[in-house]
C-alpha cells in the first residue's frame, strides 16, 4: 500500500520581506509549507513501520521540479507533479481538481495526507475538496495516525477535547502542525533527491481541464501595527496598564 502526500509549493516565508504592508516577492525562493512537511513526515514514519512507498503529488509553476527535491530528500520515494508556469497561482478549486487527477494515477493508494492549510493563503479547503472529488472519507484536525489492518485509527485534537476515530482505507487525512517534528534531510539524501522517480505533466496533458478560477485575491496586506507609545514612570503604573490591557491579572 502506498501513501500519498499532497504538498504545495509556496514562497519561503522566512525570507519574505514586508514593504508598505505588501509582501516583496522578488528573489524569494520557493519551498514547501511547514504543515506540508509535517504531513510528509507522518507518511514517511508510517512507511518505515508498514512498508510501501510515499508518493508526493503537487501542482505549481515549473520551479516545482526543483522544489520537489526537498520532499524527496525528506523521505518521499517518488513524485507525480503538474509543473507548468500557468499553474503558478491556483485557487483551491483548481488545485483540488488537478491533485485529484494526479492521485488517481497511484494504483495502490491507501492513505492521502494533507496539511490543514498551505503556507501562503491557508484556505484549508483543498483536502476536503479532493476527498469529495475522489469520493473518499475524510478526517481533519488529526494529530496521530495509526494503521490497523485495513483501518486507520486517528486522533483528532479539538478545542476542548481529544477524539479518536476509525475509518476504513482509502481515506483522506488532514493533519495539524502538532503531529510531529519533520526530520532534517542529510546531505546524502539531498544529493540523491534529484535521482528519484518523477512524473511531470503540464496543464494541457490533464484528462479533464482544471476547474475555472472562482476566487480572485483583491489585496494581500500585512496587518497594520500601531504602537501605543505609552510612557510609563513606575512599575505600579506598568502593572496597572497591563491589567487594563488584559495581559495580567486575568483568571
Amino acid at each position: 500500500m502506498d501513501i500519498v502526500v499532497a504538498m504545495k509549493q509556496v514562497p519561503d516565508l522566512q525570507q519574505l520581506r514586508i514593504r508598505n504592508r505588501e509582501p516583496v516577492m522578488a528573489d524569494v525562493p520557493l519551498t514547501f509549507g511547514k504543515i506540508d512537511k509535517n504531513a510528509l513526515e507522518a507518511a514517511v514514519l508510517l512507511k518505515e513501520e508498514h512498508g510501501g512507498e510515499v508518493v508526493v503529488v503537487a501542482a505549481g509553476s515549473e520551479e516545482l521540479e526543483d522544489t520537489i527535491k526537498e520532499a524527496m530528500a525528506a523521505g518521499g520515494d517518488r513524485s507525480i507533479m503538474l509543473a507548468d508556469d500557468k499553474a503558478g497561482d491556483l485557487d483551491s478549486a483548481e488545485s483540488a481538481e488537478i491533485l485529484a487527477q494526479l492521485i488517481k494515477q497511484v494504483d495502490d493508494c491507501g492513505l492521502i495526507i494533507f496539511g490543514e492549510g498551505s503556507g501562503d493563503n491557508y484556505s484549508g479547503q483543498v483536502g476536503s475538496r479532493v476527498a469529495e472529488k475522489l469520493d473518499l472519507p475524510q478526517v481533519g484536525s488529526v494529530t496521530q495516525i495509526i494503521i490497523d489492518g485495513e483501518k486507520l485509527r486517528l486522533t483528532r485534537s479539538l478545542e476542548d477535547s481529544v477524539e479518536i476515530v476509525e475509518v476504513m482505507m482509502p481515506a483522506v487525512v488532514i493533519v495539524t502542525a502538532d503531529l510531529n517534528e519533520p526530520r532534517i534531510p542529510s546531505v546524502s539524501q539531498v544529493l540523491k533527491a534529484g535521482r528519484k522517480p518523477k512524473e511531470i505533466i503540464s496543464l494541457d496533458e490533464l484528462e479533464q481541464p482544471a476547474a475555472e478560477k472562482t476566487l480572485t485575491t483583491l489585496s494581500n496586506l500585512a496587518p497594520e501595527v500601531n504602537r501605543k507609545r505609552i510612557t510609563i514612570k513606575s512599575v505600579e503604573e506598568l502593572v496597572e496598564i497591563l491589567k487594563t490591557e488584559g495581559f495580567v491579572g486575568g483568571n
Binding site: 526543483d66 532534517i184 534531510p185 542529510s186 546531505v187 539531498v190 544529493l191 533527491a193 507609545r229
Partner: protein, 384 residues
Amino acid sequence: MNFDLTKEQSMIQQTAREFAEKSVAPLVEQIEASHQIPLELFKEAADLGLLAIPLPEEYGGSDAGYDGYVLALEQIGRFSASLSMAIMAHVLGLSMINTFANDEQKQMSLPPGCRGEHITSFAFTEPGTGSDPKQLTSTARREGDYYILNGTKRFITNAAYPGYMGVVFKEAESGKLTTFLIDKKAEGYSTSEPLEKIAMNGGQLLDLYFNDCKVPAANMIGQVGEGFYHLQAGIGYGKLGISAFCLGLAQAGFDAGMEYATQKMHRGTPIGVKFQAIQLMIAEMYEKLEAARLVLYKAATNANKNSRNNPAVFARDCAAAKDIVSHTAREIVGICMDIHSSYGLMKDYKVERLYREAVMMPQIESPSHIQKIIVANSILADYK
C-alpha cells in the same frame, strides 16, 4: 556567470542551518563554559553528513564537494565558532588522508571519521615553529617495521577526541619531513590540558607529547620526504574551513548589528533610521560581507578540481580567501560593536562573544603575512 546556488546547494545550506538552529544554538553557552563539545553533537552532525561533506561516498562521505562543505560550515559558524573549528580540523585531517593515503590507511581511518565515531586531526606546528618546516624538531626514527616518534606539537585541535591524526615529523635518517597516521590512543601519545584562549574554548587547542611512541611503518602516508606537500594541502583545506566559519561569524555580526540598529530607539526613531553615521556602518558591513562571500565561494568551487590537479593554485586561493574573510569577520564584528557602543561590551549582548572570537580569526591557521607570502610566491612564479 551565474551566482545562484543550485537547489542541492541551497538544501545543504538549509540542512546545516536547521541543525545549527535546533541543536547547536541551545548548547553554545554550555560548550564555551565547559570547554567541551558533547560527543553526541558530533554524532548528530555526522548522521546528517555534515562531518564529511567533501569525502567520497565509498568511505562514508557525502561527496558534495568543497563548495557544499563551505556553504554548510558557514551556517554552523553563524552560531558556534568552537564547533566549526572542530569540524574544520576534522575535515582537514580527513581530506589530507583522502588525498595522500593508500587504500588500507583510508579504510582504517575514513569510515569511522565520516560516521563521527572518530574525530580526526592534523599536526604540524611545534613550540619552535608554526610556518617554517626547516625548524621542525620532532623526529621519527626507524626500528625494523616500526617508527619511534618523539617530540612536541603545539596548538592542535581535536587532539583529545578518539580517532586518527596525520602528524608531520622529521624522518631521522634522511632529515626529511614525513607524515604518519597515528591512533590517538597509541602508547607514548599524550596531551596537555586544553590551552586557555581569549574565546572559542569549546574548540580545544592542546599540546601533544610523543614519548617513544611506536607506530607501524605501514602508517607512513606516502613516502619519506613528502610531508611538506601534505602540510601544504592540509592547511589549504583548513583555510577553506576557517574562511567558511569566519564568513558565518561575519554574517552573525551583520545580523546582530542590524538588529540593534533597527531596535535601539533615539527619541522614538531607530538609530539606524535616524543617524547617517549608523547608515554608513550598515553599508560598510554589507559591502564587506558581499565581497568576502564572493571570494570564498569562488575558492571553494575551484577547490573541487584544484586541490588535486593544481595544488599551487589551490594553496594560493585558500590563502587569499582566508586572509580576506578572516579580516572581514574582524572588521564587520568591530563595526557591529561600534553600533552597539558600550552596550556591546556587556555579556548580555551577543556581540561581546562575537568580538572575542573575531579577534582570533586572522591569527589562526597562519597569520596574514604568511598568507600574503603564499599568494605573492604563487603570482611571482608566473613571472619567472
